[in-house]
Symmetry: D2
Subunit: 349 residues, 4 copies
Amino acid sequence: MILPKNNRLTEPEVDQLRAIVGEFGCRIQPIVGDVRTIYAIVGDERHELMINRLEGLEFVDRVDTIQSPHKLMDIKSDLARHRVKVGGVTLGQDLLIMAGHCTIDPKNPNLFYETAAAVKEAGAHAIRGGVWKPRTNPYAFQGDNKSLDILMEGSRRTGLPVDTEVMDEEQLKLALAAGVQVLQIGARNALNYSLLRQVGAAIAGKPVAVLLKRGMHTGTLNEFISAAEYIVNFGNPNVILCPRGTQPGLDGYRNHPDESITPLLKERTWAPVVVDPSHSVGKAHYVPACALAAVAYGADGLCIEAHVEPSRGLGDDPKQAVTPAVLAGLIKDAKALHAARRSPRTATL
Amino acid sequence: MILPKNNRLTEPEVDQLRAIVGEFGCRIQPIVGDVRTIYAIVGDERHELMINRLEGLEFVDRVDTIQSPHKLMDIKSDLARHRVKVGGVTLGQDLLIMAGHCTIDPKNPNLFYETAAAVKEAGAHAIRGGVWKPRTNPYAFQGDNKSLDILMEGSRRTGLPVDTEVMDEEQLKLALAAGVQVLQIGARNALNYSLLRQVGAAIAGKPVAVLLKRGMHTGTLNEFISAAEYIVNFGNPNVILCPRGTQPGLDGYRNHPDESITPLLKERTWAPVVVDPSHSVGKAHYVPACALAAVAYGADGLCIEAHVEPSRGLGDDPKQAVTPAVLAGLIKDAKALHAARRSPRTATL
Amino acid sequence: MILPKNNRLTEPEVDQLRAIVGEFGCRIQPIVGDVRTIYAIVGDERHELMINRLEGLEFVDRVDTIQSPHKLMDIKSDLARHRVKVGGVTLGQDLLIMAGHCTIDPKNPNLFYETAAAVKEAGAHAIRGGVWKPRTNPYAFQGDNKSLDILMEGSRRTGLPVDTEVMDEEQLKLALAAGVQVLQIGARNALNYSLLRQVGAAIAGKPVAVLLKRGMHTGTLNEFISAAEYIVNFGNPNVILCPRGTQPGLDGYRNHPDESITPLLKERTWAPVVVDPSHSVGKAHYVPACALAAVAYGADGLCIEAHVEPSRGLGDDPKQAVTPAVLAGLIKDAKALHAARRSPRTATL
Amino acid sequence: MILPKNNRLTEPEVDQLRAIVGEFGCRIQPIVGDVRTIYAIVGDERHELMINRLEGLEFVDRVDTIQSPHKLMDIKSDLARHRVKVGGVTLGQDLLIMAGHCTIDPKNPNLFYETAAAVKEAGAHAIRGGVWKPRTNPYAFQGDNKSLDILMEGSRRTGLPVDTEVMDEEQLKLALAAGVQVLQIGARNALNYSLLRQVGAAIAGKPVAVLLKRGMHTGTLNEFISAAEYIVNFGNPNVILCPRGTQPGLDGYRNHPDESITPLLKERTWAPVVVDPSHSVGKAHYVPACALAAVAYGADGLCIEAHVEPSRGLGDDPKQAVTPAVLAGLIKDAKALHAARRSPRTATL
């Protein structure tokens, strides 16, 4: 839909429109209103360059496109029947719980093993544990390759899959070689298309899933879903969308909680949504309320920072990790609400 | 706390600080660190002009104040034991449900009477009905004084209190004269201090409550609580804080839902929080999920647009009003969750 | 333009569209694309209720309107040839400079008289002086009626028009009775439609102009221009748009400077734009750069806080008022740039 | 500075503070006010883990740090005397102009050569040309290695240095091997710390500079400066900060122009600031005003998209590239303003 600056275009102007869209196999259909004429693009309008060239014309105000740019992630794509599974849970049926350390302390492996056992006992289906950490401050602890062994040992001891963040090709290779079952793309790499392509290519044909965090700052849903399209495009559709709060944060929270985007994502894409309430609020005592709100909005799962002794943790754990006891209560309440709620489009939810 | 631009101030600079704070009955205490010295203000630091004058000094970077500016609304004020009551419900104990039309249609009073009866039947404790409406577009329907009679007749027929928005002194007088029990200050008037003062003065000593909506655009919590301080300052402490979503809206919602501020408000103020999910999301089919999320975050009540026949409504009703059947389901689910959840600081919520 | 959720609507669905738009004198024209059909509204589509009812249909995704809602403020309205004049300056020709106190100190009238004389000497065409002040904190100094006499005396002594903010009907009447030439609507009242209507009605037929500040928080241009439409609608078209920075502020500035909206406003409306750099940045030493940037973007004038002795000022003056010497330099540089720059659409600006 | 939730801490609570900060070589100094006691951290407080552990204590409200986390980028670091040079221009003395294509068209090398010659003629000191392009849509044109040869041929023909964006290690190696003089880190990789480290390590000891774009979404200044610290930390201090507008965009611009952060950056860091007005506004006809505003705010240079025939360009060029004639006029005006303005802290700017 081309919206011109003036109420009607001249014939030579319309010819310019025709010439441009013609190069992309489209044609122009004017819609003549009483006051104003607008110009529909008939054909496949998803050509970024075509739109840029149209918007570059001085008599064009803007071009609105109405087709989804997501061939694979779109709710109407053939993949819409695909179901992602993690740790024995089929997303979309049961509520998936992932829990564990923000950062594994390479000097205290037992803390991680204890947490892994405790969160399994509390009801978690997968264990999270940070091996490498992105830090705004270059002089902060950035993680340690040794933690990868600790992570996998935690997986073996519990029999549960593990999730860890990878930030570059080297970490990606190490994580896959070690057998990590869920690769996490962090909020700082949500627009790092080189990494998204590398991850997509590396997991093709492998029984591995990707937990894709939403970008750190408030962006569009299109941006979020496009990042997933980059990965799925290589053949492995096991991608999970993870809202985790955005910057700037609300007065008193670490981020601005964004579990409310869940219904909007679910209208556009078939991908499951697993919310991270820990980063959303950033303090342990707010986490249970945020987790429950995520389930209220229809989330398929929760990814929570938990630690047997938060004050001894590294990274964000001293602030935002809940104890296994809190986690157990939270899981119980979340499961009850998940069972009670039905489709957000029905009368009673 | 005065943070200077350089690591240490000279004695004449410190003397300037002393001279300014001395005028306001405060004194300066330097805190000498290894690298840097900062300067604490000892005494009552809540003088806006004192802070402006300190920040106006070229060697001062900024002044951080740590005392709450809210003498009455603060969680530690003597009013913290006050309980607001509406329609037989004590806020903080039971979940308050307010529901009804965005806008009363003066040509179709029966629609409002039917809605009033239906939302009472569904479980609502108070009826909302817009008499006068703020509109971005000056040529849109702005309401009608006749609707005030319809509103009060709805109150009489149901025996329930009614809520309506007032935007200026004339409307305030009319509403109070008619017997409106809950006055609403809308999101566009959240910083209209003249109106806040007029309302505070007018309700002093009267059995009337105020539903104070959060400002239309994302502002600070301080701004929201200060607006309430303006009202309470005149003697009637029956004020209710109402988050209703903020601008800019999330991709697909009318506003950015903000029920997540509830725990942050409750740490700062004793005032009850009643969330408006209808304006937050702006489309009827998203309302139940948002309402449930508000209860998950600890809201004391919900204010919901409902209509017996949404498509015949004026204002926002055709888009965002739920039917009485949806409302009844929503109330049932919300009450169950409200009963299940406990303090957000305990282990299990 | 009605965008449905599915690629094509059924005939009964299209009939529903036709029935609704028919009530408002419009008709539906389908535009059949290869993949999708959209539905144009032919006729005057500026009916808020029509749009709300269309968007309330479950098969409608959204409705895009392309007609300007501003009958009078629109760049294409008959008023586009109107020129606003203040203090002998025709806006759009010469650069208007307004300068003076944030707040007049009723106990020190001479400070204001000295500033008024000094800013006239520096080149200002109008004097600003706050009589009544909106404050987030209800216990801060809120202004004093006595200051109105001081303001007018400043006008008489300099022979220049004066600008002051009014926040309610009482202040409006006092200011007009005293002979204030420029009424200011502050950033906190940008959506206070009752006040906008009162001001519009009160100034009709009078030689008075309105300086309309942009809302305090980032809002749409439509919102800003609509506020002006409320005023002009009563017959006096002497309205000036005043960007003044928006909340949340940039790291280190009081607000987020927004002089960059000037070209966007000028494409939509004929109204002159006078930028307030003082509130935009909030500290005196940043003001000259911001003022110059405003002129770079095509502003028609500047409204600046200035004070002969900033540290003795009330309100924001100790922080953000520039001295007359700084003001004189700033005016010189701004006039040189204003003279040098030409239309932003030509090759060299 | 530790701000507790209550007015005073108990002795055991203070002991907990002491134990934590003691592990990091700091000590606690209480500051006793009339109403409240706060607790200063004496020593080097820049330990992220120490702060996280303090904030994890239930009786702590928040911890404010006042030391800059940027050892090298800080305005007070020893590097503050370092001057970055590009294309014969010493940043901080003369105004640097970089200009050229958003994207090089590998099928039409002559278009780039013509633009390179034309922007040199117009007064540019360096040529920009995109070889690889990040795209939200995975199916859009992503660039071509062949364009790297075209880029370098443009450099040889004009004798000017060239700038191009690299997004991963492979592109980094190719660009350095080819002899690219200015590496660009794009707005989508502003938080990609793996890439920042790879770039820092790769350029150490080489006569190469980095143009570091600000992140795509509004982030803090600290975040921006920290990204530069990652690079400089490896030994090559030739880093240039490039504001380029942030998301969400202003009504009608591609982004929200952010040249106004220039004075704030310059107070914190010694690094030069080169503004990109092309991405800030996103349409060619707004670029000259934005460029001039950047110079008004004290920018050290401009990075502008220019094209001999914008409508034949790829990527953003059809919309946002200016012609060489417009560029020449813009450079003339910008240089005049740059010469006229002086330090933003002096009276006349």
